[in-house]
């Protein structure tokens, strides 16, 4: 534990000395950054590179699945760097492990901002974890882009002008699921299986906007407590024949397992976050020595989608991600989590291009507010970015998981906003990615 810290300190001290030497030597001369295209326009930006950072759970309870996201983002940044970077600058991506523990998050984000001197945060993961650094990032005026969480907390441009959400928030997802259930299962008795924090709360709020009178039970689990037997038993006892889960993937596995134990077989709908069939299937695959196969266990379960995933190998975007992963990925296969990371990285490249040839922290925030709503990318739906809104993607479609891990659409792509905003169908066609796989956004001025 102690050695890396000391080494880090030593490296830091060395870096300081070197920097001092360089600055004192260069004092008389012309700043060398002026030649060529870009310059060191802000913290973390040099003529050759832009440094961005993130925090992810690489170990611990939230690590399955989520730890793959940064590997995807890294692969895409490497792909862009291999093609010359953005305005001649390479993107340096540094991500650190916070084990989904907010105390660790504060520490690693401190290191990223003060020691690594990143230009921006890109895709820091988790509601409880990222909440812990929200004030710090905003008061330090570090752009805090595309938080990997669907909480409503990231959309507060007044108090947190630097922070932007990315994925559809849980309320939007809850609303769309709620309306789907109302229209297609009007007689169902609905049970809610919720993570006991903002995640479950926002999802419940969205669902209750449509099916409040159908809900017979709302059970909450404390993250970390792996015995969900009493919660599932209570849903069963309340007679719920359709259960909507706002939970992380390991709890999808645990709830399925517990339901099997109780011979409880409702229609399950899991939020996008907790439903990755490949991951949940691998968690469940070993049980009962072949009595349960991974594909069978999640078959018929409903969920939502907003990105084309590995189950659609012929989609132009999936093909691009496969190309990126084959060329720059590390160990393992392309997964939906890696695609998530790549899609976020793609959005960051768009934002960086929009910020112009000399990006500044202020510039990238303004660019997203002015142009973010028009950006089109890997997702089926547009972003809701504007000066008054830092909310991310605007909708999802409802899908059913088929036997082989693929999905079939149950609803068209639906978009909505928070509160009373109506749900409407999104009819714009989903454009294919650019030929070279790298966005080409022109700055506004």
């Amino acid at each position: 534990m102690r050695r890396p810290g000391q080494r880090g300190l030593a490296v830091g001290a060395l870096a300081t000395i070197v920097t001092l030497l360089i600055t004192s030597c260069g004092a008389g001369g012309r700043p060398e950054e002026d030649q060529g295209g870009g310059s060191a326009s802000d913290v973390g930006v040099t003529a050759e590179s832009v440094k961005v950072g993130a925090h992810f759970p690489l170990t611990g309870v939230a690590a399955p699945g989520y730890s793959e996201i940064p590997t995807g983002a890294k692969a895409y940044f490497d792909f862009v760097n291999a093609a010359g970077g953005v305005n001649g600058r390479r993107i340096d991506y540094v991500y650190r492990d916070d084990a989904y523990n907010p105390t660790n998050t504060s520490q690693v984000v401190n290191e990223l901002v003060l020691q690594d001197e990143i230009f921006a945060m890109v895709g820091g993961l988790g509601t409880p974890t990222h909440s812990a650094v929200l004030d710090f990032l905003n008061s330090s005026e570090v752009p805090d882009l595309f938080v990997s969480s669907g909480s409503l907390l990231w959309d507060q441009p007044e108090t947190n002008p630097q922070t932007f959400g990315w994925q559809p928030d849980y309320e939007v997802e809850g609303k769309i699921i709620g309306q789907y259930v109302q229209q297609n299962f009007p007689d169902a008795k609905v049970g809610l299986f919720l993570q006991d924090d903002d995640f479950g709360e926002d999802g419940e709020k969205g669902a209750r906007a449509y099916i409040d009178d159908q809900i017979v039970a709302a059970e909450r689990y404390a993250p970390g407590n792996t015995d969900v037997g009493p919660q599932v038993a209570a849903l069963q006892a309340a007679g719920a024949d359709l259960v909507i889960g706002f939970n992380v993937p390991s709890y999808t596995a645990l709830s399925q397992l517990t339901a099997m134990r109780l011979n409880y077989d409702p229609q399950w709908i899991y939020s996008n976050v907790g439903s990755d069939p490949a991951l949940v299937g691998s968690l469940l695959s070993r049980f009962s020595e072949g009595q349960v196969t991974d594909a069978a266990l999640l078959q018929g379960v409903m969920t939502t989608e907003y990105l084309p995933g590995v189950d659609a190998p012929d989609n132009a975007w999936t093909k691009l991600w496969q190309r990126v992963w084959d060329a720059h990925g590390g160990q393992g296969q392309l997964s939906n989590y890696r695609i998530y990371g790549m899609a976020q990285a793609y959005t960051f490249v768009q934002a960086l291009q929009a910020a112009g040839p000399d990006p500044t922290r202020e510039g990238i925030v303004t660019a997203l507010e002015e142009m973010g709503g028009e950006l089109r990318g890997p997702a089926f739906v547009p972003y809701r970015y504007s000066a008054d809104s830092h909310a991310g993607l605007s909708g999802v479609k409802v899908v059913r998981i088929a036997g082989t891990g693929g999905t079939e659409d149950l609803s068209p792509v639906l978009v909505t906003g928070n509160g009373d905003t109506e749900i409407t169908e999104h009819t714009e066609e989903h454009a294919a990615p650019p030929e070279n796989g790298i966005p080409n956004v022109q700055p506004q001025n």
Binding site: L58, T59, G60, V61, A63, P64, S67, D196, R220, Y221, A222, G224, N225, T226, D227, V228, G229, P230, Q231, A233, A234, Q236, A237, S250, A253, L254, L257, M260, R261, L262, N263, Y264, S282, L283, L284, S285, R286, F287, S288, E289, Q291, V292
Partner: protein, 292 residues
């Protein structure tokens, strides 16, 4: 009604697991007079050993046996190599060393086996029995868990009460010098105590892991609840540990089901404090004076 039955049965099978772990704590307490905080981490380690073997194609029972044997060796090794230098000194030293071992084993497991969740197979079905129309939260695997715990409890009681070996183990734990004068090989007894406790701990690890997800910290909650169970039972009697485990399992299941899952850890603390206030020596302690 069905809900109550399911909470009760769920609580009992969960309680049996806490009991198994509490038995390991009782065993090591009676054999060496220290509390081993590394017990859970050692059990986690041998469970991963079993998982590695099962993954490589061996049967569940081969992995099961290997984990128990691994526990025996690991317990003896830890006692001989790590604990021996601090034995006989202040008891606190030994306890702190076990805390250090706890951290070390977890870190080592994360390096060797990875820090992510993995599923652990179960040898029996995980689907609940059906009684009439009703499916109850009691699976063939739960039966196996409870039967194993009862067998271990009876074996331990018999060991300490009826065998010469058990007497010698208790004697060397309680008074090393006197035992030595009476011809007991104290060192061997301590090693044996650690080895046996690690076997029981490994069994608890396997029972908890069966049909569930494992990761390097999966025993943490069980350590806490198992410790509460052992203290409830008075740390002395195997029967008390089992009763304590079942009580904790039931109480926590009701709390989680009727009050909310976030109150579980608080409830465990409340039970512990309440019992220690009323009966500081545990619910099942009989005599204050000890006879060896």
């Amino acid at each position: 009604m069905q809900q109550f039955v399911n909470f009760t049965l769920g609580g009992l099978s969960q309680g049996a697991i806490y009991a198994a772990f509490a038995l390991a704590l009782v065993l090591i307490w009676r054999a060496t007079r220290i509390i081993n905080f590394a017990q859970g981490a050692m059990a986690m380690f041998t469970t991963y050993l079993a998982l590695t073997l099962i993954e490589s194609g061996l049967s569940y029972w081969a992995g099961f046996a290997a984990a128990l044997a691994g526990g025996l060796v690991l317990g003896a090794l830890v006692e001989r190599v790590v604990m021996r230098p601090v034995e006989g000194g202040p008891e606190l030293n030994a306890v702190i060393v076990t805390l250090g071992l706890f951290v070390a084993f977890q870190a080592l497991a994360a390096i060797l086996f990875g820090a992510t969740f993995q599923s652990f197979p179960a040898p029996f079905g995980l689907r609940g029995f059906t009684v009439g129309e009703m499916t109850i939260a009691f699976t063939p695997f739960s039966v196996f868990v409870i039967a194993s715990v009862v067998v271990v409890m009876l074996a331990l009681t018999a060991l300490f009460r009826f065998t010469d070996l058990g007497l010698r183990m208790r004697a060397s734990a309680f008074s090393q010098e006197v035992s030595r004068l009476l011809g007991v090989r104290v060192g061997r007894m301590l090693t044996l105590g650690w080895a046996l406790a690690a076997v029981v701990g490994s069994l608890a690890g396997l029972l908890i892991a069966g049909g569930n997800l494992v990761h390097p910290a999966y025993m943490d909650a069980v350590i806490v609840y198992g410790f509460v169970a052992a203290v409830l039972g008075g740390l002395e009697s195997p029967g008390g540990a089992v009763a304590g485990g079942l009580i904790i399992g039931l109480a926590l299941s009701y709390v989680s089901g009727y009050l909310g899952s976030e109150l579980v850890t608080l409830a465990a603390l409340a039970i512990l404090v309440a019992v220690l206030l009323v009966r500081p020596r545990g619910l099942f302690s009989r005599v204050a004076a000890r006879r060896v």
